[in-house]
Each structure stands twice: as structure tokens, then as C-alpha cells.
């Protein structure tokens, strides 16, 4: 093993943001970062699709609150994105100050999915806002979390899944929660038991195993809807979340979704 860092150690918690609606992620992300003494990293995505659209001569934006169509020029888009980025940066700084964690803020340009993939490679945990993949215009309030609900971990036997198990277990123990392990169809309970022995040898945290094994994103969504949890930890590179599956999952479930590398 070339990785000297313990599997439960965490260097960075990344929060992906593209609108003020993503601000609800910040307190949870800051808590997580504070627990593991990790850095809180804010990633603001400037959508290249949007920038490209603004270059078209007929580009117009239909306002979601007034339904009025307005011209959308590159200058307008860039100006708004800058203002939005500044607003999110300030919020991140204030949240980090209150939680007493290190923080940094990155502005990146690209498509959302590509940037997420790249960011996941550089961070231990990535928290995703619901709106990134959603076209919903009416929901104004952040998702409701069930108090003292467990932290869910998808375990597929990968290295990332073992880290997710370690991080989830430690976080749950500190918060007095249980861990709900969602096994993929190709992993046995014995494998999980061995992984737990490795990652959480001394832990007294309660481990629950979801009764349903999952084979795809739809089944995972069903499990989470049936068994409310506050945080869902997903291993990076899991085949469950290929393509737009991740975006669909994040959009349709309540818990915070974090990707663990």
C-alpha cells in the first residue's frame, strides 16, 4: 500500500455550489470538516454551457419568478456569475470561521459532471447540492433532515467504499448516530464484516444493514426513501452512478450526498 494516510483520515471536504440554494450544504460540510480536522473546500462551477449560450445572438433568459424573458449576453452572465461566486465565497468563509476549520474557495469553468468527476479525484469527500442536476423551480427550502437519523454508506467492496465506511462510522459515533450500510449485490456480508473489523475495530457504533441489496441507482434511491438518513456516503467511481445517475439520485433524495474518494 502506497497510501500512508489512514483510511479514516480526511484531508478535504468539498462542497459543490452553483447557486445560493446550495448554501444549506455548508453547515453540514463544515461540521464534517471540523470532526476530521479537514479543509473545507468550496467549488463554484461556472457552467460553460451557459456561457456558450450567452454568445448566441438570440439568447434569452426567462425569469423564474416573473416569467419575463430578458436578453442574455455574455457580459450579463459573467457579471452575475461573479456576483454569485462572491456571495457564496463569503458565506463559505463565515461558516468556516464559525466552525473553526480551514477553508478555500475555487471557481472552475466547465460542465458540471466533468468538474465533479475531476474534483472527486482531488477530494476525500464531495457534497453535492440537489439543484445541480435538477430543473425544479418551485422548491425554495432546503431538504428536511430527520433528527438522529443514521448515516448511510453504500458499500461495494472498493477501497473508496472502505473509506466511506470508516468516515461514516467515525462521524456516526461522534454524533451518536447509527450507520446504515447499503450493500451492492456483488458484496457479501462477510466481506463487509471484514471491512468493519479493519476500518472500525474499536468502534461501538451501531451498524445496520439494509435489507435490500442494490444493483443500480434506482434501487439505491428506493432504499434511501424507505429508510430516512441524514447523510449518504457514496464511494467514488462506483458503477452505480455512471452518467447522469448521480445527478438524478442527488435531485430526488433528501439526505446530503457525499462522494468519498
Amino acid at each position: 500500500m502506497s497510501d500512508p494516510i489512514p483510511s479514516s483520515a480526511m484531508q478535504r471536504v468539498l462542497v459543490a455550489m452553483d447557486s445560493p440554494a446550495a448554501l444549506y450544504l455548508l453547515p453540514a460540510a463544515a461540521d464534517l470538516a471540523a470532526q476530521f480536522q479537514a479543509e473545507l473546500l468550496g467549488l463554484f462551477v461556472e457552467n460553460t454551457d451557459l456561457l456558450r449560450l450567452s454568445g448566441l445572438p438570440f439568447a434569452e433568459e426567462v425569469c423564474s419568478s416573473s416569467a419575463v424573458a430578458r436578453p442574455l449576453t455574455r457580459e450579463i452572465v459573467e457579471c452575475r456569475l461573479r456576483a454569485l461566486a462572491e456571495q457564496l465565497r463569503r458565506s463559505l468563509a463565515e461558516t468556516a470561521r464559525q466552525a473553526d476549520v480551514r477553508w478555500s474557495f475555487i471557481i472552475a469553468r466547465g460542465t458540471v459532471h466533468r468538474l465533479l468527476e475531476e474534483s472527486t479525484r482531488e477530494s476525500d469527500v464531495l457534497l453535492l447540492p440537489q439543484r445541480i442536476a435538477s430543473s425544479e423551480v418551485t422548491r425554495q427550502e432546503p431538504p428536511q433532515f430527520v433528527p438522529r437519523s443514521p448515516i448511510a454508506v453504500v458499500y461495494d467492496g472498493s477501497t473508496e467504499a472502505e473509506r466511506a465506511l470508516a468516515i461514516g462510522g467515525q462521524a456516526a459515533e461522534r454524533q451518536g448516530r447509527a450507520v446504515l450500510v447499503v450493500l451492492t449485490t456483488d458484496v457479501s456480508v462477510e466481506t463487509l464484516r471484514l471491512a468493519l473489523d479493519r476500518e472500525l475495530p474499536e468502534s461501538r457504533v451501531e451498524i445496520r444493514i439494509a435489507s435490500t441489496r442494490i444493483a443500480n441507482e434506482r434501487e439505491l434511491r428506493q432504499v434511501i426513501l424507505e429508510q430516512p438518513c441524514s447523510l449518504l456516503l457514496l464511494p467514488a467511481n462506483t458503477p452505480l452512478l455512471k452518467g447522469s445517475a448521480l445527478a438524478r439520485l442527488v435531485a430526488e433524495i433528501s439526505p446530503l450526498v457525499a462522494i468519498v474518494r
Binding site: 449560450l53 448566441l56 438570440f58 423564474s64 452575475r80 430543473s135
Partner: protein
């Protein structure tokens, strides 16, 4: 007309005939509830109390301490005992307009029941409604409706996005909304690629996107409608749950008051309001009420409670309210406010009743002077009486000082009789200056401060004293004690033919006599105890008198009590110390000279003489001219002074003394200093009565006795004052022994005869006085002065005129 005479001892004091008091002690006398000597006032009171017409409120007038309040209370209690108990009044929330709380009238005692029932109802509501709204089934249904709405919107947007994708157009989120972008190779088409398209293709794409934008716009416009539909559905769901939860509770409460339509109407309104606002009763997230609930539009269960404003459940008969502090708000009620985090809030539950509300259906007794001292209270009372309703308004609103939104409680009909108690002056002033007063207070109950003395009235008075003693738990008073008190009553009335009806004075004397009887361990109060009480009253208050008499004895204040002096006479005045009055001799001097008939009153010149005193001096000036100089100029100049007087002198009771002093000076005949004189004089020289005659005589007697009574000393008084004499025993005894005298006169001639020892002299048919008489000397002297004036009188004036002319 009688000549001057020395009064006999029997004329100096009335002594109560014991045969008028046929009892050993007051224990034998029957109880007497009413106050003696106030038949007229009591009749007026009874009339006013029984007269149930507009404006027949009462003003009870009379001096303080005469027993007005006691009589009023007795009279009202008698009437109230048989009257019906008035209604209870409640204020409840007006759900249509909370700024105007509604008043509900209920039979006496039902208000309390109504309030308690509603309190129980509210208690039940406060648990039933949240429980109904928190039930799992209800919450699930609520979520289901919200999810349905959410899915509906999502589906609509997804459908639009899908439709766009089929046309190779992507729906993209922007910072402020949505936009449609044409696609090229699964990416948004760049501007360069777009420009490369043929013109007609570019136009097609544009139109395609315009069409999609129009659909998007319509979709976004539809969203608020969907949201409202969702809210309506949830609200309807909440109402259904609330209705199920409260229906039976209201039915139970309503059943208890089915005979009262106003209460039934209130229950109906409350139930309707709760159902309309059912969804607003969702408990807050943390389950605690907001500290600013009053400022928020969220309902509170307190809104449905009842403010039992007037509770007559314990009242027997009609209420009698005696308001000792009749301020505006104490009379008309007030709307109080609660401070919450520095802000002030109010509602119908903070409306407080005033005295008028509590007295509604009964009687309100107020002290007129205190009422008039309270700003705006008098006007407010008159307004309420005129309108026959009580409207609660804050003073700030009445005066338009503030215009903040506050409550305007529904006015309550007024049916109370107001009884004002005050002194006579106040009554006459109100009659003169306030037309509303006459309209609203048509009955005056005028209390007498004295009553006729007779055998019957004395016995009645004795019964009253006996009752007073019993009520105050005092020892019984024997016949002699009662007689002494009756005599004191005559002295207080300043009239031997009347008795004072001043209850407080009599009650005080009874209590103090009882005290001294207790010191003697007596079981019955006797005359000496009464006398001791009277003596001690004087002793406690006579420090100033002692000082003054002592200064006279020591010669600091110059009063001659022997010998004769020209132009000098002993006048008598009364000093009133509030609770004690005494007489004081004053030296009055007069000088005369050649003049033009003017009498200079030094007191008036230095503004130490009051108008009545000045009037007396002017009258005597007129008398001089009319009697002695009818047909020739009065060539006399005279100056009058109260020696060693440094304060205000008021009244005309010294005018007879002043006239005697002037005439003594004019006739050059000395006046006896052993005599003092009091009385006013009219333009015909007749002696007129004055006040304080007893104190004046006793004052001169005390001064004389301090320097030894000579048998020559005495006081001259107007004959018309003889009936007022109620002198002390020691004065009467001195007169009996010939050591002191009291003379009654009719005219100035009588006075001069006594003071000079010379006959005054009557004028014959030609107006000439006989030689050797005082008046003859006066006329002779005036003729001399006239001659002198004829010779010299005009000279100085002529010289002055010449000087003025030379200056011109």
C-alpha cells in the same frame, strides 16, 4: 325700641331644660338610623333615588362633616336592597373587527359561568386542535398533497425539457431563471457554429426556441396557481381536521347557554373563526409560543377567552359604588397594554371596567370636589350621562395626542344614578357656570347645618346621640351629659335658639367624652366628662390665644381696661385658627380736624382693610353727614386706625366702635376703657348683628379677668345678637356676681350713652339737640369747624390755584 341694658345671666346662655330629656341615660332611648335635622335633605334624596328618569342625578350639598355621606349611603342601601341585581358584562373578541371588541350582557352570575365554560372550552381547544393537526394520518396526507404538487411541477418542467431535447434544444438553468440553448453534438451550440448554419435554419432555430420560451413562460405563470391550489387543499384538509376536533366541544359549551342568544352568537362566531383559521393553529416547530405572537397574525387561543368585565355574581341588590379617586380612567375604564420586548400590545382581555361600569344598574357616589380636580373626568361623566352609554377611550385618543391603532370597545348602555357630594359653594358655582350640570343633576339635597331647638328636637337629638354612641361602641351618656352636649350644639350653631347638626363635631365630642369617662373608670358618661372634653379641645388649640392675652397683660399690646380716653375705644375681633376661634380686643383710635367730611381709614389706605370693612367706614361717614350736617357742609376730617394691627382686617363688626371713637374725638368727650364694643352700624345709626359674638365677649372677659375684674367692665353688643348668646359658665357667673356686664344696644346713641356716661340727646322737631347732651356738643363742634372752614378752609386751595396759574 328698648334703651341700653345690662343683660341678666339667663339671657347670656340657654340651659337645657332637663324635663325635655325624660331618661336616665341614652341606653333607654330607641335606636335612630337617620340623621337628625335633615328631613328636607333626606326627602330630596329619596325623591332623587326613586325617580328613574334622565337627568335626575343628585347633588348632595352641605358643609363638610355634617354626615352627608352617611345619610346618602343609608338612603341608597335602603333603595338598593330591594332593587334587581344588574347584568354581568363581558367583553369578547370581535372576530370580524378585533379593534372593536364586542360587549355581551348576561344575567347576574351567568357571566362568571360563561367565562369559566369558555375557559374550559379554550383549554380543550388548545389541546384538541394541535393534536388533530399533528396526527400522523393528517401529516401524511399533508405531505402527500405537497408531494403531488411538487411532482406536478417537476413533471411539467421535465416534459418541457424533454420536448426541447427532442428538438435538439437544452433547457439550461441560469442565475435568474431558465434559458433554451440549441444543441450541437451533445453540447450547446457555439455562436460560431450557429453562424455557419444557413439563414433559414438559423431562423427555424430561433422560432423553435421562441416557441419553447413561450411555453416555459406560460408554465412559470401557472406555478403560482398550482401553489395556491396546493395551499387551498392543505387548508381545506386542516379545516376538516379542526372541524372534527372542535365540533363536539362547541356543542357542549353551547348547550349550557342555550337560553342566551348573544352567547350562542358568540360561540357561532368563535367556531367559524377557528374553522376559517384552522391551518394557522399549526404549532411552531419548537412547540413554544412566539414572544411576538401578538404582533404576528398567528392566532392565539387567548383570543377566544372571555373578559368578565363586570361580575355581579356576589352582588346583592343594586350596586353602590363609592369611588374615592374619580380620575378619568377610574370612572370610564381603560384599555391596558402589555409590554413584550419593548413593544406594547393590547386586546379585549385588557379592557378594565371603571366605576361607572361597576355602578351600572345601581348608584355611583362621588366627591364633587375630587371629581372636578381630575382632568377631563367631569366632562367625561357628563358625556356618559347625556349619552346614557359608557365609551372607553384613552385620554390620548380623546385629546388626539396620539393616533396609534388601539381598541374601540363597544359602548355599554349606562343606567346608573350618580350622586355627587360637595359643599354649597361648589353647587352654586356649577349651577351658574355649567348648563350641563343643571340638566344632569336635577335633584339637590341640601343639608342643614342647624336645626330648631325645641323639646321635641332636643329629645330627637338625644336619641341620635344615643345611637351614635352605640354605633361607636361608647358608654351611655346620662341626662346631664346629653344636656351639656345639646348646649354645646347651640354654641356651635352660634344660636341659643338652634342646635348644630354637624355630626362630625358631635361624634368627636362623644368619643372624647367617653375617653375622659374611661379615665374616671365611669360606666356612664356624665356632664363633667363632656365639659372636660370641651375644655381639653380648647386647651389643645389655644396656644396662640394665650400668647396674645399674655402680651396684653404685659402691656406689649396696648389695651386700657380702666379709665377714659378721648377718641379711643376697645373694639373686638375674632381670630379663626381653623379648629379654634377666640376673641381679641383691639384698640381703635380716631382723630378729628378741620376737613371736607372725609374719613380716612388707615387700614384701607395701606390695603390692610377688606372691602366689607371699608364699606362699614363709608357707612359711618354717611351717618355723620346725614345726622349732623344735613344742611351744611360737613367740615370734618377724621382718621381711623386699628392700633397694633399688622394683618388684614375684614368685616364691618367694628364700625360701631369706630363711629363712637370719631364722635368721642369730635365732642371731646372721653370713652370708658372698661367697656368693649362690637357691632356694625347702618346709615341711620342703628346697631346691627355681627358674628362670633360669644367669642368676642369671652375674649374681653378673659383679658379683663387676667388683670382683675373691676365690676365696671363689660361688652356692648347689638341687641339683635342676644339670641345668639351661649357664653361660658364662668362669664355667666361673673355677670351674676356683678363683676362683668353685657349690654345690649339698639343704636349708636345707646352706645355713646354707655361709653361716655352722658346722655346722647334726641333732636327736637327743628333738629336741635338739648344742651348738655353729647350730640349737642358734637353739633356745636361741627359748627365751629364750619366757621373755621369758612374763614380759612378755602385759602390753601386758592393759593394753590394761583401757583398753578403762575406756572402756566
Amino acid at each position: 325700641m328698648n334703651g341700653p341694658s345690662s343683660l341678666g345671666a339667663t339671657q347670656l346662655r340657654w340651659r337645657c331644660d332637663r324635663s325635655w330629656l325624660p331618661f336616665q341615660s341614652t341606653e333607654e332611648l330607641p335606636e335612630m338610623q337617620e340623621i337628625v335635622g335633615q328631613a328636607r335633605a333626606v326627602a330630596a334624596l329619596k325623591f332623587g333615588v326613586e325617580m328613574r328618569r334622565d337627568g335626575y342625578n343628585l347633588f348632595v350639598l352641605g358643609p363638610p362633616g355634617i354626615g352627608k355621606r352617611t345619610v346618602v349611603q343609608g338612603c341608597l342601601e335602603e333603595s338598593a336592597a330591594t332593587a334587581a341585581v344588574p347584568s354581568d358584562w363581558c367583553y369578547v373578541n370581535n372576530f370580524d373587527d378585533p379593534r372593536r371588541p364586542s360587549a355581551i350582557s348576561l344575567p347576574a352570575g351567568r357571566g362568571l359561568q360563561f367565562r369559566n365554560d369558555v375557559r374550559q372550552l379554550v383549554d380543550d381547544l388548545s389541546t384538541s386542535i394541535p393534536a388533530a393537526l399533528e396526527r400522523a394520518e393528517h401529516q401524511t396526507r399533508q405531505k402527500s398533497i405537497a408531494e403531488e404538487a411538487s411532482e406536478r411541477q417537476e413533471s411539467a418542467f421535465k416534459a418541457l425539457a424533454h420536448e426541447a431535447l427532442e428538438q435538439k434544444v437544452q433547457l439550461i438553468r441560469t442565475p435568474g431563471g431558465f434559458a433554451f440553448a440549441p444543441m450541437h453534438n451533445d453540447e450547446v451550440m457555439s455562436a460560431e457554429d450557429f453562424e455557419k448554419l444557413p439563414a433559414d435554419e438559423r431562423e427555424r432555430v430561433k422560432k423553435q426556441i421562441q416557441g419553447l420560451q413561450e411555453k416555459l413562460r406560460q408554465l412559470i405563470e401557472t406555478v403560482p396557481t398550482w401553489l395556491k391550489e396546493t395551499r387551498d387543499k392543505i387548508r381545506e384538509l386542516d379545516r376538516g381536521a379542526v372541524k372534527l376536533a372542535i365540533g363536539h366541544l362547541f356543542a357542549q359549551a353551547r348547550e349550557k347557554h342555550v337560553d342566551l342568544p348573544t352567547v350562542a352568537a358568540y360561540f357561532a362566531a368563535a367556531e367559524k373563526d377557528i374553522l376559517e383559521r384552522g391551518d394557522e393553529f399549526q404549532p411552531s416547530e419548537d412547540g413554544t409560543p412566539s414572544p411576538l405572537a401578538a404582533a404576528e397574525s398567528r392566532p392565539s387561543f387567548e383570543e377566544y377567552e372571555v373578559n368578565l368585565f363586570v361580575d355581579n355574581s356576589q352582588t346583592k341588590g343594586a350596586p353602590i359604588i363609592m369611588e374615592d379617586h374619580p380620575s378619568y380612567h377610574n370612572l370610564l375604564g381603560r384599555v391596558e397594554h402589555e409590554s413584550q420586548l419593548g413593544a406594547l400590545f393590547t386586546n379585549f382581555s385588557l379592557i378594565k371596567a371603571g366605576a361607572l361600569h361597576r355602578a351600572n344598574g345601581g348608584y355611583l357616589v362621588l366627591d364633587a370636589w375630587r371629581l372636578l380636580q381630575q382632568p377631563f373626568a367631569w366632562d367625561a361623566l357628563k358625556r356618559a350621562l347625556a349619552a346614557r352609554s359608557i365609551k372607553i377611550e384613552s385620554l390620548a385618543e380623546v385629546l388626539s395626542l396620539v393616533s396609534t391603532v388601539s381598541l374601540e370597545p363597544e359602548p355599554i348602555p349606562l343606567d346608573a344614578k350618580v350622586v355627587l357630594i360637595g359643599d354649597r359653594m361648589l353647587y352654586y358655582l356649577l349651577c351658574a357656570y355649567d348648563p350641563d350640570f343643571v340638566q344632569q343633576f336635577k335633584v339637590a339635597a341640601d343639608f342643614e347645618d342647624r336645626m330648631e331647638r325645641s323639646a321635641e328636637s332636643c329629645l330627637l337629638f338625644a336619641r341620635f346621640l344615643g345611637s351614635l354612641a352605640r354605633r361607636n361602641k361608647l358608654r351611655p351618656f346620662n341626662q346631664a351629659a346629653v344636656a351639656r352636649i345639646l348646649e354645646y350644639g347651640a354654641r356651635v350653631a352660634e344660636d341659643a335658639e338652634h342646635l348644630s347638626t354637624h355630626v362630625q363635631t358631635m361624634a368627636d365630642l362623644l368619643v372624647e367624652s367617653d375617653f375622659w369617662a374611661s379615665k374616671d373608670s365611669a360606666t356612664v358618661v356624665d356632664a363633667p366628662h363632656v365639659q372636660r372634653a370641651l375644655d381639653m379641645q380648647v386647651e389643645r388649640a389655644d396656644r396662640v390665644r394665650d400668647r396674645l392675652y399674655d402680651e396684653i397683660r404685659r402691656g406689649t399690646i396696648l389695651i386700657d381696661l380702666t379709665g377714659s380716653r378721648i377718641g379711643q375705644v376697645n373694639g373686638l375681633s375674632v381670630l379663626d385658627l381653623g379648629n379654634f376661634r377666640f376673641g381679641q380686643p383691639s384698640r381703635i383710635t380716631a382723630t378729628t380736624r378741620l376737613g371736607r367730611g372725609e374719613v380716612i381709614d388707615i387700614e384701607r389706605e395701606v390695603k390692610l382693610g377688606g372691602p366689607t370693612h371699608s364699606k362699614g367706614v363709608l357707612i359711618l361717614s354717611s351717618y355723620l353727614a346725614s345726622r349732623y350736617a344735613k344742611e351744611r357742609p360737613l367740615s370734618l376730617g377724621a382718621t381711623l386706625a386699628f392700633e397694633q394691627s399688622y394683618g388684614m382686617i375684614e368685616g364691618d363688626s367694628a364700625s360701631m366702635a369706630e363711629l363712637c371713637a370719631i364722635l368721642s374725638s369730635l365732642a371731646d368727650v372721653p370713652l370708658k376703657q372698661s367697656l368693649a364694643i362690637t357691632g356694625s352700624v347702618n346709615q341711620f345709626g342703628q346697631s346691627q348683628p355681627i358674628g362670633g359674638v360669644n367669642e368676642k365677649i369671652e375674649g374681653f372677659f378673659d383679658v379683663c379677668r387676667a388683670q382683675q375684674l373691676t365690676g365696671e367692665q363689660g361688652v356692648i353688643i347689638p341687641r339683635t345678637n342676644v339670641k345668639h348668646l351661649m357664653l361660658r359658665d364662668d362669664v355667666v357667673a361673673a355677670v351674676e356676681k356683678g363683676q362683668f356686664h353685657v349690654y345690649a344696644i339698639d343704636s349708636v346713641d345707646d352706645a355713646l350713652g354707655l361709653l361716655t356716661g352722658m346722655p346722647a340727646g334726641e333732636a327736637d322737631q327743628h333738629g336741635h339737640f338739648p344742651a348738655g347732651t353729647l350730640n349737642h356738643r358734637i353739633v356745636t363742634r361741627l359748627e365751629e369747624l364750619q366757621r373755621l372752614r369758612t374763614r380759612f378752609g378755602e385759602f390753601p386751595v386758592t393759593q394753590a390755584r394761583i401757583r398753578e396759574a403762575s406756572h402756566e
